[in-house]
């Protein structure tokens, strides 16, 4: 299977009964989804007052992400375009309400009633034109303007996405900014190719407190992402520069006996006159020399 499902078929066709079942029976996918939605919920920055919120899960699929919301005590409404995925969600008896709908057609939700929206790996589907009537630009616009309308003042929307390339990310961001959202992209583990996750965090309207966007995880090189050590080596520490010359030289080890033997051999093969290899080859000279 190609790594990008959105290139294969439109979502309502790609996520058919078998694919939906596969998606929900894989423990790996369940774990990743739970982790992503946990993080998305964290980025939503909901006030910590213990009152359940009404959230929107866009592209809820089989309700894996919604389960995280339920566990945290929130009420949610899920929207998805694939009937098969929603059927699985019904089987799993998720607590939120489900809607069969297309986010590219805009959300039919009343103004200012939703406390927050999350969407896990769904928005990139909007960038594809699967039908002749589809125009990604217009669909993104319809989606973001309707989302902006239905969010309460100060509410946030967090989208986890895998943009295919820079243009796609720009397209999505531009559509969001045109709709009136403020915000930006939070990248978790930016140095790791595998753990790298992008979240688009959008805020709607004004909120007097806490408008700053949270920092991505792993940006300071904590919790062992694989390329971190390399990154550290590139920085020149000041103490190094002021060390005495002699000490710096001492650190540099010579070429070594093996290297010399190898190169003498090479030179011999070329037909040059090379001194014979003895026990003195590659040996260090005495200090008194």
């Amino acid at each position: 299977m190609a790594s990008r499902p959105e290139l294969l078929a439109p979502p309502e066709i790609f996520y058919d009964d078998t694919e939906a079942r596969k998606y929900t029976s894989s423990s790996r996918i369940i774990e990743i989804q739970a982790m992503l939605s946990e993080r998305a919920l964290e980025l939503l920055g909901l006030p910590d007052d213990g009152v359940p919120k009404l959230l929107l899960d866009i592209g809820c699929g089989s309700g894996l992400s919604g389960e995280t919301l339920s566990e945290n005590g929130h009420h949610w409404i899920g929207l998805d375009i694939s009937q098969s995925m929603l059927n699985i969600a019904l089987e799993r008896e998720v607590e939120g309400d489900l809607l069969l709908g297309d986010m590219g057609q805009g959300l039919g939700v009343r103004s200012g009633v939703i406390d927050g929206a999350i969407s896990i790996s769904a928005v990139q589907w909007l960038c594809n034109a699967d039908k002749s009537s589809h125009n990604p630009r217009l669909r993104l616009k319809a989606f973001f303007t309707s989302l902006y309308r239905c969010l309460a003042n100060g509410a946030r929307a967090v989208f986890q996405l895998y943009p295919e390339n820079l243009n796609q990310r720009e397209l999505i961001l531009n559509a969001a900014m045109h709709a009136g959202f403020a915000g930006g992209i939070v990248v978790d583990y930016p140095h790791s190719s595998k753990r790298r996750k992008e979240f688009l965090v959008l805020t709607c309207g004004q909120r007097s407190v806490n408008t700053t966007i949270s920092k991505g995880k792993g940006e300071d090189g904590d919790s062992g992402s694989d390329d971190d050590s390399e990154e550290e080596n590139q920085t020149v520490s000041i103490s190094d520069r002021h060390r005495p010359r002699k000490k710096q030289k001492k650190n540099k080890s010579g070429k070594g006996r093996e290297w010399i033997l190898r190169h003498k051999e090479k030179s011999r093969r070329k037909g040059n006159i090379v001194p014979p290899d003895t026990k003195y080859t590659g040996r260090k000279r005495k200090d008194r020399f």
Partner: protein, 122 residues
């Protein structure tokens, strides 16, 4: 689908200026008991359009809600109980939602309303 969701939904067919509230045609209504959370109910009270809510609950066959309500009634336990029951425990399982302006039917199957629009409605 709960009435909580119904109260948030509106029809977004192109050209429709007031797609709220969607009329309910109930064929099958089920009840699922959930725990009551007074804080949530009080907070949602500000957001809910009460008239649409009361009408919807009547369409679902639950006539215990008053025609009008104000926030002082939230102090009464009996009221909260009814409000909670109508908002979160009644589920529209089979039926349809009807756009008030165009009369377009959005069928509800197994509790999931089909809000997909045809191409000429976008």
């Amino acid at each position: 689908m709960r009435l909580l969701t119904h109260n948030m939904l509106s029809s977004n067919i192109k050209g429709v200026t007031n797609g709220f509230p969607l009329r309910i045609e109930a064929e099958k209504v089920v009840e699922k008991v959930v725990e009551m959370n007074a804080d949530f109910l009080k907070k949602m009270f500000e957001k809910i359009d009460w008239k649409a809510f009361a009408d919807a609950s009547r369409a679902m066959g639950y006539a215990e809600l008053p025609e009008e309500a104000d926030s002082s009634m939230l102090e009464s336990d009996e009221f909260l109980q009814r409000y909670h029951h109508a908002l979160l425990e009644l589920h529209l399982e089979e039926g349809a939602l009807i756009c008030p302006e165009t009369g377009r039917r959005f069928p509800v199957n197994k509790g999931i309303p089909n809000m997909l629009l045809h191409e000429d409605e976008v």
